[in-house]
Symmetry: C2
Subunit: 694 residues, 2 copies
């Protein structure tokens, strides 16, 4: 190819293509774990406005594990209630229902809305705080090769990607910077998001052609050898095409318009999330946003095809046209605006990638493997959760801590979620785009009762909390199959009856517990920071019960042994909690127990830094924040206890007997590598994961 002679070469563990939310989640994860990473994006700048999206409860929980949920929580608009508006018997819209936007008690966070530019900012700030990794913008991959012979050797770099730096002009999207006045001269339109809409063709190939044709810029080409390549490069993914994979599914015909405005209206529920079904004029979804803005998703009375079945001209789509549609739907209420922050239009496409991974070396995430309608507020969330699932697995394999077999769980876990997402979106879109039924015999219309039921049911899925990973090496569900010799299956089985409200395969629920040493309340999830560590949480029950105390002490002795599995999997010289952290939540009462009377394994001695006061917690009443009732909420009997193994991404791997050291050891033995000097895994030991900050 002309103009692609690399002038220098680099070796990285992971190369990420695309610096949207999925790519940034991955680079944040990898930078926390000290993995040598590069992340490139063909655009010259990050997103500044528009592209708002809902943030699910689960996404906020993940943000919190990285330390920046509070920024999103403070800046965002919180969505509390959904109001459903439908035609009455005279065809006039009226509020028919109110339902909570987030199911009460499902999470300590509720769904909020914030524009994507701020979310990308949080990731960038967090990366800057914890590493030297920065996004290389205006950089385009132009060629890809994988040496399949090397794919099985995870110390080798089988992937070769040529990167080309674009000129500033090339990297700037051809956005229609109109600053137009509308017909009546009153409204200035600031920004147009059509350039990223799926109504417009992808420009990647044009960029590659233009960049490579210009042979005068050969100096800006570089060859990167990588262990892993991850495509977070959107619906038109270049990485997906290199891997030879495709998206499967369909588009619907309808075009939707989007306006981000400060509304001037007498519609009473403009600050609630609303689904407004008019009798004949179409549907609006109202999403109240931060900074007085409201986003309106407005069904346009047109399809993307003209009468001859050809792709229709999109030049007729303007903010005024979209507003007029909205005004017809919301009638008899008035709707207008002076200030428009952003607008776009799109067509719903519902597709899932046929594969998510090539040889466990190339991975696809986010829009590269699933596209759907934006109105359910899912897209950005599921995309970020893809790479939240992938990040720690890559880090553990790169570091030589885990067997590469764990990488297979990325596709098995995330492709199922993508399929559920599309199925959800199908149901939701059909009900949302349809005309309301006039009466029960109007079979063409959409039943508003069915709509409400779907909406309510969809809420659990939409929270992100419902994600439930299937049995695998990492999730001990179903029967024990240690004998089956299947290297991809878990070697142990859970005893779900010991913690009836903790679901193996789902994320660990969170309730408040008190630190034994200082009585401060913490949400349990706050203890599960995303720093690459596995956790064993021991719930020993009431330690005033001598039997419980005895079992707890025996477990402490085994965990503290120099040959314990924890020590075996911890790189020599590293703190004992740096790979597998043991946390305790006893059943109280707090004042009956002295921390330093408990076995050292539960509050390690860090030498010059003294005892560890941040490992033992208690389910007891607090002075200022009530009683978390953790044992009751987890369904654990305080007279018996339980232990739980939690993955670095907060998903539950195993539930078993409080003192079942042997099953814990067996669980980890299926995929973790011994780190003892002179033993096989040790060759792979590099810089360990970060330890607790002073």
């Amino acid at each position: 190819m002309p103009g692609t002679v690399p002038t220098h070469e680099d070796h990285v563990d992971v190369l990420i293509v695309g610096a949207g939310p999925a790519g940034l989640m991955l680079s944040t994860w990898l930078s926390r774990c000290g993995i040598k990473t590069r992340i490139v994006d063909k655009r010259g700048t990050k997103v500044f406005n528009g592209q708002a999206d809902g943030l699910q409860c689960r996404t906020l929980e993940i943000f919190d594990s990285f330390g920046f949920a509070h920024r999103a929580w403070r800046e965002s608009n919180h969505m509390i209630e959904i109001c459903l508006w439908n035609p009455d018997e005279n065809g006039r819209i009226r509020r028919s229902d109110r339902i909570p936007d987030t199911i009460p008690q499902i999470s300590r966070f509720q769904q909020v809305v914030l524009h994507q530019g701020r979310i990308e900012r949080f990731f960038l700030d967090s990366m800057k705080e914890h590493s030297n990794l920065t996004v290389e913008r205006g950089v385009l991959p132009v060629s890809f090769e994988i040496d399949e012979a090397k794919a099985a050797d995870f110390d080798d770099y089988p992937i070769s990607v040529t990167l080309r730096t674009l000129s500033d002009k090339e990297a700037t999207p051809q956005q229609r910077q109109q600053h137009q006045k509308s017909a009546d001269g009153q409204r200035a339109v600031v920004d147009d998001g059509l350039f990223r809409s799926n109504l417009v063709a992808d420009d990647t190939d044009d960029l590659i052609r233009a960049a490579t044709a210009d042979s005068s810029r050969d100096g800006q080409v570089e060859l990167v050898k990588a262990k892993f390549l991850v495509g977070c490069d959107g619906a038109h993914s270049w990485v997906r095409r290199q891997a030879g994979f495709k998206l499967e599914g369909d588009s619907t015909d309808y075009i939707w318009g989007v306006l981000d405005i400060v509304p001037i209206t007498d519609f009473p529920d403009i600050r609630h999330r609303c689904a407004i079904h008019s009798a004949n004029a179409g549907t609006i979804m109202v999403i109240p946003r931060e900074n007085k803005l409201v986003r309106l998703y407005i069904q346009l009375q047109a399809t993307s095809y003209n009468k001859n079945g050809e792709k229709a001209d999109r030049s007729w789509i303007t903010p005024d046209i979209i507003l007029q549609s909205a005004q017809r739907i919301i009638h008899p209420y008035k709707l207008d605006y002076s200030y428009c922050d952003w607008w776009t239009a799109y067509q719903i496409g519902q597709r899932v990638g046929d594969h998510f991974s090539l040889h466990d070396r190339v991975f696809l995430a986010g829009d590269a493997v699933h596209t759907h309608s934006p109105k359910a507020g899912q897209g950005m969330n599921v995309s970020m959760q893809d790479t939240y699932n992938l990040g720690w697995k890559l880090a553990h394999v790169v570091k030589g801590y885990c067997d590469p077999a764990i990488l297979k769980t990325y596709e098995s876990e995330r492709r199922g979620i993508a399929q559920q997402l599309i199925a959800f979106d199908h149901r939701f879109s059909r009900l949302f785009s349809g005309r309301p039924a006039r009466d029960i015999i109007d079979e063409e219309g959409v039943s508003m009762e069915e709509f409400k039921a779907t909406f309510e049911k969809g809420n659990e899925f939409a929270s992100g909390i419902a994600v439930n990973y299937d049995a695998s090496l990492l999730v001990a569900k179903g029967s024990k199959i240690a004998e089956s010799n299947d290297e991809y299956k878990c070697r142990v089985t859970s005893k779900p009856q010991l913690a009836t409200k903790i679901d193996v395969g789902k994320r660990m629920p969170s309730f408040k517990v008190l630190n034994q040493a200082d009585a401060r309340p913490w949400h349990l999830q706050e203890l599960l920071k995303s720093n690459g560590r596995w956790r064993v949480i021991v719930f020993p029950g009431r330690l005033t019960d001598p039997r419980n105390m005895q079992r707890f002490q025996q477990l402490g002795q085994k965990l503290g042994d120099p040959d314990s599995f924890i020590r075996q999997y911890t790189p020599p010289g590293q703190p004992i909690d740096s790979m597998i952290e043991v946390l305790t939540v006893h059943a109280g009462p707090r004042t009956e127990i002295e921390l330093l009377d408990l076995p050292e394994a539960f509050h390690p001695n860090h030498g010059d830094m003294g005892w560890d006061y941040w490992k033992v917690y208690v389910d007891d009443d607090s002075y200022h924040e009530g009683h978390g009732q953790a044992y009751a909420n987890y369904g654990i009997d305080p007279s018996n206890g339980a232990s739980v193994i939690i993955r670095p991404d907060q998903y539950v791997s195993w539930v078993g007997d409080m003192d079942d050291y042997e099953e814990m050891a067996r669980f980890f033995s299926a995929f973790m590598k011994q780190q003892v000097a002179g033993k096989p895994g040790a060759a792979n030991v590099r810089v360990p994961f970060m330890t607790t900050k002073l």
Copy 2:
């Protein structure tokens, strides 16, 4: 004076000397209000470590009103429980009591500990975000004059201060940068805070002498003409000396040592706040801090005077000496450290300034007018609250919104608080420094029951919530005195029986209420941002009761009238909520009321920005955060209602009938200036306070 010929001259509204917490609180306030301010500090850098202090509940509430409490809350150590340790009958220390560190329910925050450098950082970041104001470091005031003839004209600049810029060397404190190893060679001592201790003489005069002697640097002298001068320059205040005022009070003899260490100990309560009274070896206060640190205040077995009654040599004070004292006190428990972050020693001095203000033009705040022992964690808090009290008053007078008479309330309100603080500290120090009584007939010893009772009682004072300002122009307490012609008294009287749990003169308590437009829960205090606005909070009761609705509508009509007091005091052309903001909290139920059905005065129309959806709230159940029970907690009868006037610093000015427009108008008429074009006050109108951010 040689070397002090100013080469240029500047005019400012307010000149602040000293950029510690008191000075930074004031500059933050003034920058929020758009007041032309300069702030100088003789030190070349801000504080980096040491000087930790407790942050009271009230201080965190104030930080939240400026938008940065969450930063302190996240980074600080939260103090939950106080453990009292005393000798048992054998003279061995044992835990005798546990009491909550913060009185439950007193505030939505609890007392926390964070080092002063971070707190100064929050102020600096906030100033940067909201203004161009920066601290001028290494700048020293060297001369002061006030033209008393001009003091009564608040448009004039009667104060002249000469400022001199120091060289880097001059501005760097002579801190003993030892990096020493202790006797056993194990402990590296990082930093020494003795240089700021009251055991060392003030260096201001030396700095002035050195700086003015060097005539080669004449170019760095500047004359500043100011309307107001505020001395936040510490216990040795230069400004106080210029004003001719003094501190009155005494010092105690005992010397206390302070160590900030990561402790290595088997003492069980090292992560609780503890008061440890040994039988004969003295007392320790344990203050667990952020980042694994613990601060120990340790009574040394020495006084600051030697046998001849002369000031003792302080060179014998080392970290090892302090540690050895601690080890004797905490025996039989072991205490040691490898890491020491900071240490110092001090002598308790308890003094209050004789005056806080000169001609209402020069003001003193913080350590310049009160000094006391640090162990009660009060110093920084009371200092910041001094200038939080002063800031908005200065701003309102500079802007021409209020009569300068309001400035008299600074001394009347804050000097009383300083006196209470010293009285508290007297009691506390005596009990803390004393030897525990051996039995009830040991009259020289301190009764541990009395100590506990004082500690518990002191907790309300220590929270900062107990502050209760006396009757004044700004606080409608006691009987109506409109007839007495006293220009400094309030013209109205409150009806406390209408809101039995709101104390006129104290800060407005906070409970959760829901936004009427979007059902989001907010703590009421979150609505009372520090942006210079007065608030009228209308509690109309249950609006489903026609009588309440009628009274509410009548009030709305009067408030919305073009001649209403709100419009009269609002600069022409400014939004109607920019001087006096009307908020409503009705008694629900939320879903029975439509916001847009209420009178416009309660949800103003902002033209191009549409209706205001952020003024009306409801006391109702929320989906995720319970029911705030605001009416019950405020002691307001929902069948009758009440109205409350709240100062820009969140203190309650007046409680009266829900619809008593006339009393509200009369209250403001005593000190606010009409802003209508052509009328007297209008000449003073400058840039208005910030309006709500888009």
